[in-house]
Amino acid sequence: MPVNWIALVVFIAAFGFVTFLGFAAVHWRRGDLDLLHEWGLAGGRFGTLVTWFLLGGDLYTAYTFIAVPALAFGSGAVAFFAVPYTIIVYPFVFVVFPRLWSVAKRHGYITAADFVRGRYGNKWLALAVAITGIVATMPYIALQLVGIQVVIAGMGVESRGLMGDLPLIIAFVILAAFTYMSGLRAPAAIAIVKDLMIYITVIAAVIIVPIELGGYGKIFAAVPAQKLTLAPPGPGTLGSYSAYATLALGSALALFLYPHSVTGVLSSSSRHVIRRNSALLPAYSFLLGLIALLGFMAIAAGVDKAPQFAPYFQQYKANFAVPALFLHIFPAWFAGFAFAAIAIGALVPAAIMSIAAANLWTRNVYREFINPRCTLAREAQMAKWVSLIVKFGALLFIIGLSTQYAIQLQLLGGVWIIQTLPAVIFGLYTRWFDAWALLIGWAAGIVCGTWMYWVAGTTFPLHLGGLTIPGYAAFYSLIVNIAVTVVLTLIFGLLGAVRSPDQTSAADYV
């Protein structure tokens, strides 16, 4: 394809605007950015509306917008596990996370590991939670670049070789600079623009595409019947049913354990903001369902059979389905707008993830183990530097290694991050569990989940008697983790193990 200049100009203009916004955000709800709490949590001053944009922009990433429709395009109904996943996550958040907000506010915690440290008085358990968060986040940041890569290629810009990496490098230098300067205020400001652009794009697509293709009936009719619903399980197995349900449940339990989600939650101004947003954020779930449908629209439009897209499908596989669909149905200027929405959509989560990883490193590794007497200004400075390192690590990862590794590691990251659930979520309700038992349970879950992923991929076929129950490796390994933790807590209790004092009290959580 030749360079699509109209799309490219619109794209660059939109990108330029958010760059300006990212730097200007330093003045927004002005605070002392030499404090980690101000740089990394924007002082905890975001109300209901800003938090809605911030969490929406944070959780529904550019990679989601490319990968979910790509999965629908290639595999059909199974991609829609994202819908029950994002349905059940909010009742869970509604009940659980206001407690984390309250206790964090009371004690000045800015990470989940801070809370674990205070609750259990065990720095090694806190370290495990912090390292898990950092490691699970890194490939996630790298994957945001995939979203940018695909849409830039979609505008006919050469995407191979050193010159091909240049747009990515530019985008990441801009991202790194405004994150360093403005902290969490930058992605919060940009999220508002990004989310509005995504809504406009998706609403336009779900109106225009059915008109062009002859209605939704025609779109679904174009999808092969065996892909339109899940394959009913055969005898002796729960087949796709248990896989679909455990993928949804496991992903929902894992989502808010990710550091970037915790950062979003803790930056809100009150626990009521979190509760309100649990009822308001499903608007994005609806949007995500519509985005998944774009995969079916791409099938109906037959974009994979168009000769001009063939080399791109060869290079990017199903990930090119959405860019191809936009080029096919939208005028060039609007395709540029839509691509900008996706690329800007990559900046928001990448910025928040790097900030969250920097908070974890600084608070729970640097200050805990390396320099306990550092000044507050030094702490904030350290976090700013780490946010740069994390992002350039992700950039090198994508340029130097294959995207496929990043995808594999991101899937593994989901298996790992869920292992922090007993320490963090159970910890919000009870101090019954023993800190060392939690740490050993965490290790057991990590080993077991990684092994399951190694031998079987995301869904592990569990054999119980004569029945096979395929399920999400994260979900099964979490059960192993909890079982080990409960048994060891009972044993340590019988042995009369001494417990560290709890910094928090019951009144801190409500």
């Binding site: 909010y90 939704y216 009936g217 009822a279 499903p282 979520i425």
Partner: protein, 70 residues
């Protein structure tokens, strides 16, 4: 575990149990894994799940108002 009623000074705690309904409705796949009855050309599998996004949001909003401290 997470559905344990908390945080409303014991008032209207029953409302929290409503939040279990979306879990049952969406995690039991046999409830909705079929193409029929289609609605306006949209297979049942899809419109059922979209509908539950709305129901779940309304339920959460209801529980919010039922449990918010005055």
């Amino acid at each position: 575990m997470s559905e344990e009623p908390k945080g409303a000074n014991g008032r209207n705690n029953w409302a929290y149990w409503l939040l279990l309904i979306p879990f049952i409705a969406t995690l039991w796949v046999p409830f909705y894994n079929s193409a029929e009855p289609a609605w306006e050309g949209i297979p049942y599998f899809y419109w059922y799940q979209f509908l539950w996004i709305l129901i779940s949001a309304v339920l959460t909003a209801f529980v919010y108002f039922a449990t918010e401290r005055k």
